[in-house]
Subunit: 181 residues, 2 copies
DNA sequence: CAACATCATTTGCTGAACAAACTAGTTTCG
DNA sequence: CGAAACTAGTTTGTTCAGCAAATGATGTTG
């Protein structure tokens, strides 16, 4: 339904709203994550690295919207700080799997608390019930976007379980996922 | 074993969700705003410039989270494209007020439709009722953030309506060309 | 084995944020 | 009045992230 919108059309403000909220999130998060090399980016990587199945760098980059080339030196710094480790996948030695170290888990635990508080603060203007809905909708929208993203090949998405290390059965699926070149 | 915390931590995903959604918004918007110099940035500026009370550059920069120095050449390009005009405030000749031209209004009208469609598409994964709530919450959060921002002086905020005066009395033209180019 | 594809790294380029210096105009105060 | 302090905008330089292309190491296929 198009509400007959005056100048300040509610539709056209979504981008602005998101930008402001995300910006504020980034700003506060960055200030509270001084113990992680690249701030919120490092935090996101670390968060993804604690999974049972360590993600590959490509999967990380795609999931976190970080460029592959940036991911390289980002991991360099995280590794140097002792928070993660790159382990060559025994099944495919081209692949590096990013694992959180014990120290990485500890640091992450503390960071998570701080980030949680930041997020509450960022959404301070939204009443309690709406806040949970906002989170849920944001997550839903983001998930939907990632699944249907043109640059995201479902075969390349982070494989959640795949315990066996049977390797990426569909490693070649879908051809080009804009490989580094 | 590995993860005492399955990343079900609902709090810690807000930043990621917002980043993905905003990223998608930006990506699609950018592709649909080829007729406005700096894409979504130019669009935001243009949107703010159609108000009855033309905002100053500082107010624009603050409202749109764009750096002052970036705002300068952003406006240069918008002005060169004939979409906005800088008019010296007669009451304070240091101040430039950014006004949309007639052509700017036309371009914006078309752009707004496209952006609206983009936003619907970005939120495609969210069911209809939740979508409106999401918009509203995002706007609420953003507004609250802007109001409580340490760098935001309420006296500098763009004045919303303030009744009449559709034009700044100072019609007299141009003054100085900004950049000889 | 040769040709090709994929993952990761490196390098070059562009755009944006940030800070600081600078110009122009305004206000404050001696 | 006039110098100092302040503000709005511009310019410049640095840094960082994203994008693209080239390279090396591995894996896969013919």
């Amino acid at each position: 339904m198009t509400t007959t919108t005056p100048d300040s059309g509610p539709g056209t403000t979504l981008g602005w709203s998101l930008a402001v909220v995300l910006r504020r999130w980034h700003e506060l998060t960055e200030a509270s994550l001084t113990d992680i090399p690249h701030g919120s980016r490092g935090y996101h990587v670390l968060t993804a690295a604690v999974h049972a199945e360590p993600p590959t760098q490509a999967a990380l980059a795609e999931r976190l919207l970080i460029d592959r080339s940036v991911m390289t030196y980002l991991l360099d710094d995280l590794e140097e700080a002792g928070l993660v480790r790159r382990r060559v996948d025994p099944g495919d030695r081209r692949v590096r799997r990013v694992c959180a170290t014990e120290r990485g888990r500890e640091v992450l635990a503390g960071a998570r608390d701080r980030v949680d508080r930041v997020e509450e603060r960022v959404l301070a203007g939204v009443d309690e019930p709406a806040r949970a809905l906002f989170r849920a909708s944001a997550l839903r929208a983001a998930t939907s976007i990632q699944e249907s993203s043109p640059t995201t090949d479902p075969c390349l998405a982070v494989r959640e379980v795949v315990g066996g290390g049977d390797g990426p059965a569909g490693g070649r699926g879908g051809g080009r996922a804009r490989r580094g070149a």
